[in-house]
Amino acid sequence: MFKLNLKIALRTLWKNKSYTLINAGGLAIGLASCMILLLYVAHEWGYDKQFSGYEKTYVVYNNSKNNAETLSWAWTPTLMAGEVREKIAGVKYASHSTYPNPHLISYKQNNFKAPAVFADQAFLKILDYEILSGNAEQALTGVNTVILTKTLAEKLFGQEDPINKVLKFNNEEVLKVSAVIADVPVNSSIQFEYLLPWALFEKINPWVKNSGWGNNSCLTLLQLQDEGQFSAVSAQMRDIYKRNIPDATNEVVLQPLAKWHLYDHFENGKSVGGRIDQLKIFFLLAFCILLIACVNFMNLSTARSEKRAREVGVRKAVGSSRAALMNQFLQESFLLAFIGMLTAFMLMEIALPFFNSLLNISLKINYTDWRFWVALVGLTLATGFIAGIYPAFYLSSFEPVKVLKGFGHSGTATLSIRKALVVFQFVFAACLIVCTAVIYQQLQYIKDKPIGFNKNGLIEIPMEGNLRSKEKMALLKTQLLESGAVTGVTYFSRSLNEGGNNTFSVSWPGKNPNDQVLFNFRSAGASFSKTIGAEMIAGEEFSEAHHNDSTHMILNEAAVARMGLKYPVGATFSWGGSPVTVIGVIKDFVVESPYQAPAPMILYHIEDEFEYMIARMNPEGNVSSSVNKIDEIVKAINPNYPVERKFADDNFEQKFQNEQLLGTIANLFGGFAIFISSLGLLGLALFMAEQRKKEISIRKVLGASTMNILTLLNKDFIKLVAIANVIAFPLAYIISSNWLSAYEYRIQISLLPFGIAVLLSLIIAVLTVSLQSFKVAKANPIDALKYE
């Protein structure tokens, strides 16, 4: 029986090639989209879960409270790990480490700037990276030792054995390679290329040893003896600050390592989601696309039921049971799902590299992972079942007497179900169009929003190596200006796009003593606002005259507003206990998130703290030749370091990564969803045109023009798509306003996205349907009327 059913199934599929193509093609695109999205979800979901003890590993978060809000971050005192080890029961390991930061590492002529982490021995116990060679056990207990990842070792040493070779670090320290570990997994939160001992960090930065509980400068990780001890440990940890500083307001929360990446958004000291929200959307999207492909199958199978009715009638007449028939039709849909899956495989392998480069990630199919195969088989079976179950029910319900006599006009019930299914597909498509449009509008709005300075043609050069010396700094400035490649030069203590460097210890006359306000602080060079294209609202900016001046400050507007200064220029306030004077006010400019109002900022002028040179490129000059000139000059002055010149606007773009990703994925997979829906529509149109062939011919004989017929055939579909849009709009409005509500700066939802959705879905529907109906409308009427 199975063999016979298979034979019939194959013959039916073969006989109706266009339907098979539409069905299998739709299912294949649906399955491939679904699987790529699931791969991405799995990639994100797998973050930090490669370590054997990840379930009992926690990241220490520091909740710092002020009367307005609670700020949470994973920056803790260097003393914390030691204290936890000593005093808190139930903790197996506690480690402190820095966050990854690029440093220069060199071997003979090879030098690279690569991200490094300084860590203690416990770090490697908690995060058990795979050790490829050497001895990692003792590596981090020394001072001048290093652990390399495989890729960096190969870059530095080629085919040579790296163990016990000697490297130079930042051109100062000599390091001995003690071990090589596997590359850090791409979906790991801590991305580094080499590990250095904590002792070296203390040696290079002597202040670390003396820093107390008020200095939150490192990452602390804990691993519990077992998960059951979490509540006990977290209760003991909570007040660890207060036990060490009597008037501290900080509290500790433990964030599971497994949730570090996905639940990165904190409100009131509690993790309230973050990337996980986006991930949930993608997860949902994956299944919706598949569902849409399944709907195509349901639609076409029931639409074509009249053709199969005879077969059902005959089979029932010769004794087939309903169950046996359902079985047969389900087998057909499983077969189709299987064909779809094979095609999906090819599509995925073709699409993945493109998808990866588009999203700047590296997903790949892991064929050796059993979970992949389970998901694959599961998806195929589910698809076959969902797509096939309704048609099987419907087709097997025919009564033989009726169908063998010929079909009357009993198809109205299934017609309305088919219509409902088409409406469902287009509701989804229209929703996606609206949401995608809103995402892009918001992205564009934020990108176009003035950021307070002119980021175009602005480059940043880190002051490292030779450039740390004042003479070389000055030399670089002179040479750059003389070369004509740049028109202005200033300095800054951080990159223009970096956060960090902030303080609560600012007070002013009339400040509420309970008020904790966080101020950003930066050291800025002479002609700072002029160079970056910002605007001074009042007073003057720093000039060469303010040499190492630690008493004169420039405030941004937000700081002036926060302090409530009516006449800011000349006003005094206290910072870290010392009185300082305001000499100027600069218009707010964005250094942190472009989605939020800039925080209060204090600028001062201490040359020792300059970390970056900021230069304005000559607008008259050719960009690539100017860049070459700049690179040559930098290299000549600082030959031991690779040139790290960066464009400020490139760095700025990275702030939009999340939204850009969402926009791209919504656009891409929204496009696929719409494509699959129109495939279904094409199938239905194909069927409708065939069914109404006779009617169309009569109409043509009576004088209908091609246009009349096209209108007639398209009208019904247009109605359905219009209904779908009407249903989709409130839905899309709720979803997109919900998404927007997370942004402080956001667009008002306008009519435009809805207009786009109506237009786009109608155009797609009309084009799809016309593709088929045009053929029928042009056909010679007598062909259909001749053989009745």
Binding site: I698, V701, P781, I782, E788
Partner: protein
């Protein structure tokens, strides 16, 4: 009114070529009622379709009131057809989804007749055809004879110069068949030119002239004046 010369039509399938019309010459005068007869496959339906501009011949000439119709393009053919011709088919070819009234109205819509005029014209023809009480019904609720009356009404509602009927009684029993034939005769008397294809010599007896076809040739023509006069 109609002058057909050397008309040829060949049907091609994958393997065989069938000559349906092989040099037909034919004239129809205004006000005539012509029957075309002949065995199955002699080409009579093809001839009717060509005359109705539903099919294109390979060669020859077809003049309708001195206009050469075979040179027209699709749009012109369609316009000419809806302005001058009405069709009656063996299987009625009514649209199942439309009521009797709507079926009859359809050609008027395509002829862009204004709604009010349309209504009057349809009502007039419905009365003439004696199907007033059926106007809101759907085709499948009617008997075969009634359906064919509707089809005739639809063919006539535009007041065509030429009515083409393809075996109009083929699907009807004899009494319904006679009803339809009498209707056609009545129309003819009122001045409509009719060309009818039929198998039945009984039906052909209603016409003025009978043309016999065989293998795509006209083999004989017979003036049938007597019978029609008898009927009058």
């Amino acid at each position: 009114m109609i002058r057909i010369e050397n008309l040829e039509k060949v049907y091609k399938t994958e393997e065989i070529e069938t000559t349906a019309l092989n040099g037909i010459n034919l004239q129809v005068k205004e006000g005539e009622f012509v029957s075309i007869m002949g065995p199955s496959g002699c080409g009579k339906s093809t001839l009717l379709n060509v005359m109705g501009l539903l099919d294109k011949p390979e060669s020859g000439s077809y003049k309708f009131m001195d206009t050469e119709l075979l040179k027209l393009n699709d749009r012109e053919r369609s316009n000419f057809r809806k302005a001058n011709m009405g069709f009656v088919f063996q299987n009625f070819n009514l649209i199942d989804e439309l009521t009797v009234f709507e079926n009859i109205e359809l050609p008027l819509i395509y002829n862009k007749v204004p709604a009010a005029t349309r209504k009057a014209m349809v009502n007039e023809i419905i009365q003439r055809m004696n199907i007033v009480n059926r106007s809101g019904h759907f085709p499948q609720q009617l008997s075969g004879g009634q359906q064919q009356r509707v089809a005739v009404a639809r063919a006539l509602v535009t007041k065509p110069k030429l009515v083409l009927a393809d075996e109009p009684t083929g699907n009807l029993d004899s009494s319904h068949g006679n009803e339809v034939m009498e209707l056609l005769c009545e129309l003819n008397e009122q001045g409509t030119t009719i060309v009818m294809v039929t198998h039945s010599s009984h039906d052909a007896g209603f016409s003025n002239r009978i043309i016999n076809l065989k293998d795509g040739h006209v083999i004989s023509e017979k003036i049938n004046k007597g019978i029609t006069e008898e009927l009058i």
